[in-house]
Symmetry: C2
Subunit: 119 residues, 2 copies
């Protein structure tokens, strides 16, 4: 008599031990949520382009907009997303705001992605 789970398939009770083991190794809900939120940020070509631009050097918003041939507004919105994910940082200089990479893991994450793709 099951009580805590959907009755997906009774005969799979054979693997209850595997399920129990995996359940114990599952990260906490909040961690899973944060991980998904982080990877979502990498899941957009515009944001990946921005990160690559900043690999090259620090840049102001209009440099990036010019480089990617997109509107200043679109870039600004995406920089906000990158900022919230703590992937970029910025410094203000007069009217301009210069953005740069905020984290060493960014390259590693992107390169692992490339590495997976080129298998």
């Amino acid at each position: 008599m099951k009580m805590n789970s959907i009755d997906v398939c009774e005969s799979c009770e054979i693997h209850k031990n595997l399920v129990t083991k995996a359940m114990g190794e599952m990260p906490a809900e909040e961690m899973l949520y944060d991980m998904a939120e982080l990877f979502k940020v990498f899941g957009d070509t515009t944001r990946i382009r921005i990160l690559y631009a900043l690999f090259s050097s620090e840049m102001c918003v209009c440099d990036i907009a010019d480089l990617l041939n997109m509107t200043q507004s679109a870039i600004s919105h995406q920089l906000k997303v990158l900022k919230q994910a703590r992937l970029v940082k910025f410094r203000k200089e007069g009217k301009s705001v210069y953005y740069s990479l905020d984290d060493d893991h960014i390259k590693t994450i992107l390169y692992q992605g490339i590495s997976h793709l080129s298998e």
Copy 2:
């Protein structure tokens, strides 16, 4: 006289050299697209949960559904996405289909994500 880009901000021509340099280092369109597609796959808690489940051991669809307390259909749809991204592989045994991880980069990518989050 500009010809190939939106006139975002004329006075930023100061940084044209940076923009040109970054343009030269930008990955090809197709690579950017593929990278975004790959990271999108990691951008969902259900799929991350499935990957973690498979870290633990190979599992059949209904094991995963039971573990995550979700419908068989939802899991099956997500496994399709993971399969297309070549993150999981499967073997058929009778009525069941056993899924397992298909790539060594998966752990590295997820761990880099965790590493970034816990800074």
